[in-house]
């Protein structure tokens, strides 16, 4: 029977994971790029752990044409919760080095996956709400048209093309997930034939 403890390499990887979580507190996680004939230079909406960044004022100035609500950081409780969650993730990654149990890493990976799923659902829910909940007095009304940005990828919304893709933080968190998976695979010898 193999030991339940984890290797030095996995501990080092856990330190990197902690750093990735900590790092993603300071860079944008997600970006929605908008392009239109009137904006050849492009507009971008950046979602940080704690705020909305990018050309949010300019986008808010345009929203009224289609009756979309304006975006304000304080209207999203997520921006208060996410920094705490990311901080906790970083802390847990560190603790796991000392806990030194492969089961701990496995549980953390599953928790993290569940979190990502929930985050995606939440993101979709907001996108849906902003895209569909339109002011009936808006100047531009296209029957059947909703302005929900894509969860991931590209979608044409009237004159705007919208690309929804991970930003730096998103890639850091993807990296964290990959490393955690690598640890679990290694410690449970999943690749070795029995």
């Amino acid at each position: 029977m193999k030991t339940q403890k984890i290797s030095i390499l996995s501990k080092a990887l856990l330190l990197i994971v902690a750093a990735l979580f900590a790092g993603s507190l300071f860079v944008p996680m997600w970006r929605i790029e908008l392009q239109a004939p009137q904006y050849p230079e492009g507009l971008v909406l950046q979602l940080f752990a704690n705020k909305i960044g990018g050309d949010v004022d300019i986008i808010n100035g345009l929203n009224h044409y289609i009756g979309m609500s304006t975006l304000h950081t304080e209207n999203f409780p997520e921006f208060k919760i996410l920094p705490v969650v990311f901080g906790l993730f970083a802390l847990v990654s560190l603790l796991l080095v000392f806990v030194n149990k492969r089961k701990g890493v496995k549980i953390f990976l599953i928790t993290y996956m569940v979190f990502i799923l929930l985050a995606a659902v939440d993101f979709y829910r907001w996108n849906y709400q902003y895209g569909h909940n339109l002011d009936p007095n808006a100047a531009i009304k296209v029957p059947g048209m909703a302005y929900q940005p894509p969860l991931l990828g590209y979608k044409q919304l009237l004159n705007f093309g919208a690309y929804s893709i991970p930003d730096t933080g998103g890639w850091l968190m993807t990296g964290a997930a990959v490393l955690l998976l690598v640890i679990v695979v290694k410690e449970y010898n999943l690749l070795k034939k029995k």
């Binding site: 004022d57 300019i58 100035g61 044409y65 100047a139 531009i140």
Partner: protein, 661 residues
Amino acid sequence: MKNTVVKAIVAIAMGSALFTSCKPKNSGDAVSGDAAQKAYVAPGKYDEFYNFVSGGFSGQMSVYGLPSGRLFRVIPVFSVDPEKGYGYNEETKPMLNTSHGFVPWDDLHHTEMSQTNGEVDGRWVFGNANNTPRIARIDLKTFTTKEIIELPNSAGNHSSPFITENTEYVVAGTRFSVPADNSNGDVPINTYKQNFKGHLSFVKVGKEGQMDIAFQIQCPGVNFDLSHAGKGKSHGWFFFSCYNTEQANTLLEVNASQKDKDFIMAVNWKKAEEYIKAGKGKLTPTRYAHNVYNESTHTATSEIKTQVLILDSKELKDICYMIPCPKSPHGCDVDPTGEYIVGSGKLAALIPVFSFDKLMNAIKTKQFEGEYDGIPVVKYEAALHGEVQKPGLGPLHTEFDGKGNAYTTFFVSSEVVKWDIKSLKVLDRVPTYYSVGHLCIPGGDSKKPFGKYLIAYNKITKDRYLPTGPELAQSAQIFDISGDKMQLILDFPTIGEPHYAQAAPADLIRNNGQLKFYKLEDNKHPFVTKGEKETKVVRNGKRIDVYMTCIRSHFAPDNIEGIKMGDEVYFHITNLEQDWDVPHGFAIKGSSNAELLIMPGETATLKWNPDKVGIFPFYCTDFCSALHQEMQGYIRVSPTGSNVPISFSLGTNLPAPTTQK
């Protein structure tokens, strides 16, 4: 017999062919095959150079791209511009104030870009007002006029606004000599020789561009024409061409063309600075306006200054020296090394080139041939490097390519001639269509020319464009000068009448910190409205101040009542947009004023005196968005003594009256 007839026919035919081939070729033949390719800038691509062209009697400055010749912008400088509200809105009216009061027009002849170490630096471009003597400074971050200074003791500010190699000074030499401002000007015109004086102004330019007249040099009464600063070794000197040294006061075309030689005046301005330090200057009473546009208040202020420091060229002998120069010199150009000074006598058939070293030696060894009204005259031969022989007829202006070549324009023979500065040999000549005045090579009067293109600014266009009645298109022509031979690649029409122009590499200006919009939070206009909640209409006696905002696509407020006949209404409109390329306009029916054109983050004020009782519509004039045509409002004007109270609103109709009034 038969043979003789055949011979005769052949002789006649050959003779006619000879005559026909001798006839000058049509101007269309001057364009060779790849010209279009060289001047073509594809849609969406940028030009290589900005070209700042004087607008002549339009009073404005125009901005073109090279080599495409496309017009980008007309910058209002000395003339009112209803299109932009310049000189019409309350903020810019002070820019056109002078000692004569508000002057709505002028004649802008020359542009000069600021320099550092003798190289164009892309910060500012200066322009001169030829009629009511002034110098303007245009900021190249905003392409707007930021400052205008009037020049006392002057009339016809022609040899201006040329600058020294670190933009220490921008100068102005008076074209007309006139009695000094502090003397009695009510004298007979034929007392020119006793009473008329020529003043040269040295305007100090500060770090932020702020202009201040450091001193004026009082000179004999002649006509000062053009000038250029020394550079490199000749830094510290300025050279002014002068004509009418005959001192005629009537029929100058005859009376000022009598002498074989007039002068180029060399001015040692570093020496002048020493004299000022030694207390030799005299503070003399006068009146001139100094107008400054403040970017944070979006408002210009005008100050009348009351004295100027004068140095007397007669008393202070070693500031000014005269160099004889043939036949009423016009252009006065210094090569990139600072060694050669080219004088262009507009009636001469040769070009004299003077040597700075020889001039210094001549002054040191006192090789003078006499004095002109108290100023030493250097012997012609003692200062002369040499003469360009048979260059053409009527030389006017010279620019340089930085490769040892000079290019001179000839008005009378209508051509540009390329010659070698050292050997003085003519290398090439091309015709211009027609009668070229100024020319411009990017950086062509600096230490570092970019000798790729040459632009000729013509005085006559005749058959070059489709006719437009008695007044024809004004025009410029671009030549590729990168090879040994000059090649015409494009004609392009210009605004006003183009005189001197300057050009600089596009990146130098594009990357100078171009402003995209004004930050609303930094707006310190006394009547700024930073949000729709702050909008209001305030009555103070007959004065009404409307604090209005605009953003796509409405004004706030857009319904205003309670204005009465006899009121003086000030619309202070703030553009709340904070994005590039979203100006809004404002126009009101029947206004005797112009429109407002308000940049994002800016506040501008339109004064309006209602002339009738009734409803006056107003609207946005700059197509701002898909709902631009909805961007409008109404003002109700009631009779004097009416009891309609001041009210204003946006979005909700005012309570409907119970009975229709």
